[in-house]
């Protein structure tokens, strides 16, 4: 497909609302920003930027990271790899550098899916290109931070992540806003390509301001024996968040796991799902979601599509309602198209069982302590296959959210 036709497709979809989630008036986010100057190390960031980035899982010291990417508004202010075999740069730069990148551009996500994908094509502001060369195994995770400093700004990024054959890539992405910013729009296209025997873990921590609208659009293509593990944490307020990342298991024994942890306070509207097409023998998928509302609105979706025999997939969604107001709508979908597949789901939505609180009180905890122990336990999703320090980042992000919860 030529570039011209991609743009044409985008233009046609410019006004196309998303199939789900509240519609956004894109014209409302038209603030202009100036370019920000480059830095050499994240340490050079100002204290306030650093603090916000750290709260979204970024290691400002970069000691335990194999590379860093930092985009402030529309400027890539840092992109460095600290290990051989890794490439980190602006995706716009990468597109200029590598002709072959066209073969990966809008191949895991459709450019005309909706007006957000269209805007990302028509008004792109960088995004990151991360690539592990064949056989490269990262020692530490790569980190990427997308940061918004300007009120009313639209940040439209397009990320491409490629794990070449036999490589291993761990990524942590933190998205956040400057302390005074309240409103903004973040559109993030992420296309993952996990080649034969490669492994990618992707941990995304969102830490937005109360009135930011967020529309990630994610697609992942996983080849033979490839593994894609995606963890998403959003414990902070957001005006509207809608995403439905989709993975395609196209190679035999391809494995996908999505873990999602959401907390919606009053005024937050979240619609987050995960979809996996199991298209090759031996593919595996597991979707696990935990949602907590205290007055916010959460739709948690999951859709597993078994297209060939010999696949196995499971979907689990648990929701906890902590206040009179608030709603959790769990929509698990299983779609089997052939014989010889194994797919299952479990979903449960409710409030904390009084009986459990009483049980913990009978061991000496106060009612409040018992409630927080149960919430902590509820959010303690077993996250397999990611490095220990990333587990710690997830725990940290969750526990920072917990403080607001309790």
């Amino acid at each position: 497909m030529s570039e011209v036709s991609v743009r044409e497709m985008a233009k046609k979809a410019e006004k196309k609302p998303s199939a789900i989630g509240p519609d956004i008036d894109l014209n409302a986010y038209s603030a202009e920003v100036k370019e920000h100057g480059k830095i050499q190390k994240l340490k050079e960031l100002s204290g306030e930027v650093k603090e916000k980035a750290i709260s979204a899982g970024i290691d400002a010291e970069e000691a335990c990271r194999s590379g860093s990417f930092f985009q402030m508004d529309h400027s890539v202010i840092l992109s460095s790899a600290y290990q051989n075999g890794l490439e980190i740069m602006s995706s716009t730069e990468a597109l200029k550098k590598y002709d072959w990148l066209q073969d990966y551009w809008w191949k895991a996500v459709n450019v005309d899916a909706d007006k957000y994908t269209a805007q990302a094509e028509l008004k792109q502001n960088h995004g990151y290109f991360l690539r592990a060369l064949p056989g490269t195994k990262v020692e530490f995770p790569l980190q990427a931070c997308l940061y918004m400093t300007r009120e009313g700004l639209a940040q439209n990024v397009h990320n491409i992540i490629i794990a070449e054959e036999n490589s291993e890539l761990h990524i942590i992405t933190g998205c956040t806003t400057a302390p005074r910013v309240r409103t903004g729009l973040h559109i993030g296209i992420s296309e993952f390509y996990v080649k034969k025997n490669a492994q990618v873990t992707f941990t995304m921590i969102h830490n937005w301001a109360e009135d930011v609208e967020v529309r990630p659009r994610t697609g992942a293509i996983i080849e033979d024996n490839g593994v894609f593990l995606s963890n998403y944490v959003c414990m902070k307020p957001v005006k509207t968040l809608q995403m439905y990342p989709t993975a395609y298991c196209v190679g035999k024994n391809a494995t996908v796991r999505f873990n999602t942890i959401l907390f919606a306070g009053e005024g937050s509207n979240m619609d987050v799902g995960g979809r996996v097409f199991l298209r090759a023998k031996g593919s595996r998928a597991e979707l696990v979601a935990r949602a907590i509302t205290r007055g916010g609105d959460i739709v948690t979706r999951g859709h597993l599509i078994g297209e060939v025999p010999g696949i196995k997939a499971h979907l689990e969604c648990k929701g906890l309602i902590l206040s009179e107001k608030g709603r959790i709508h769990a929509i698990p979908e299983l779609e089997g198209k052939v014989n010889g597949i194994e797919m299952s789901h479990e979903a449960a939505v409710g409030k904390i069982a009084e009986e459990e609180i009483q049980y913990l009180m009978a061991r000496g905890l106060s009612s409040e302590e018992a409630t927080s122990a149960i919430i902590r336990g509820f959010l303690d999703v077993e996250i397999k296959g990611i490095p220990e320090h990333l587990k710690r980042e997830i725990k940290k992000a969750v526990s920072m959210g917990e403080e607001r919860l309790l």
């Binding site: 009180m361 009978a362 000496g364 905890l365 149960i374």
Partner: protein
């Protein structure tokens, strides 16, 4: 007074009531579950509570521990002379009341080990090494890292309840059917730990604990000495006496016999 063997003989009987329940009437959602219950348990004493299903045994324990929903209509409960009728569960626990539930809920994300830590911390005496020591005693080392009661077998639940009591070390111990679902291999173990909790190794007058044990089948009486038995029927304690004699009566005449006896 000295007797052969040099042991001091206790002549004075200490009559210190640890629990005093007076004219207790309780309802759950407007349904009366306890009617005018009177029961005194002295320090050092162990009582078994017998009675058919639905007679109010578990309701009595839940009322003593303070489960909301068990509404005290009249009467009161004293613990060591203090009126605890209006206290919350955790306040009662802090005073030294402990309970092993018959069917405790599973709590996801809270491991048995965490519970033991909570139990010890709450009485201000946390010792990490005690966790394994206690678990070994109850043959539960393999359950420590599991979410509490989640997928536990019936016997494991009973033993884990006792394990938590070991960590809590309460002065007044309530056990709701500690023997049901426990296999023959483990019932010995369960009996031994109950005796330890109730300080059965000490001379009767030296014991500082007291116990109230619900037993349906009475198996536990083969392992734990009870001082007294009480029979509950239709929400009230109808009689008390030697536990073995009471059990024998029930075995031969059934609870119908108790009902007839009342008339």
């Amino acid at each position: 007074m000295e007797v052969a063997g040099g042991r001091e003989m206790d002549v004075e009987v200490i009559e210190l009531d640890m629990i005093e329940i007076n004219n207790l009437t309780v309802s759950v959602e407007d349904k009366r579950v306890l009617k005018d219950v009177n029961l005194h348990i002295a320090q050092g004493e162990t009582i078994v509570l017998l009675g058919p299903n639905g007679s109010g045994k578990t309701s009595l324990l839940k009322t003593i521990i303070g489960i909301p929903g068990y509404k005290v209509e009249s009467g009161r409960i004293l613990f060591s002379g203090k009126d605890i009728t209006g206290l919350t569960i955790d306040e009662r626990v802090r005073l030294g009341i402990g309970i092993a539930f018959q069917r405790p809920p599973a709590v996801r994300g809270v491991r048995l080990k965490d519970m033991l830590r909570i139990c010890m911390e709450k009485r201000g005496d946390f010792k990490e090494e005690k966790i394994n020591e206690f678990a070994r005693k109850l043959n539960l080392l393999n359950c420590l890292d599991r979410d509490i009661n989640l997928g536990f077998s019936g016997g494991e639940i009973k033993r884990s309840e006792l394990l938590q009591l070991l960590a809590q070390d309460p002065r007044f111990i309530m056990l709701d059917e500690p023997d049901s679902g426990v296999d023959l291999v483990n019932i010995n173990l369960v009996g031994r730990v109950i005796n330890e909790l109730l300080e059965k190794d000490k001379m009767a007058s030296k014991r500082t604990k007291a116990g109230l044990i619900i037993t349906h089948a009475g198996y536990i009486l083969d392992y734990v000495n009870a001082d007294r038995g009480c029979i509950m029927l239709n929400g009230t304690v109808i009689c008390s006496g030697n536990p073995r004699d009471l059990l024998e009566d029930i075995r031969t005449k059934g609870y119908e016999g108790c009902a007839r006896c009342l008339k």
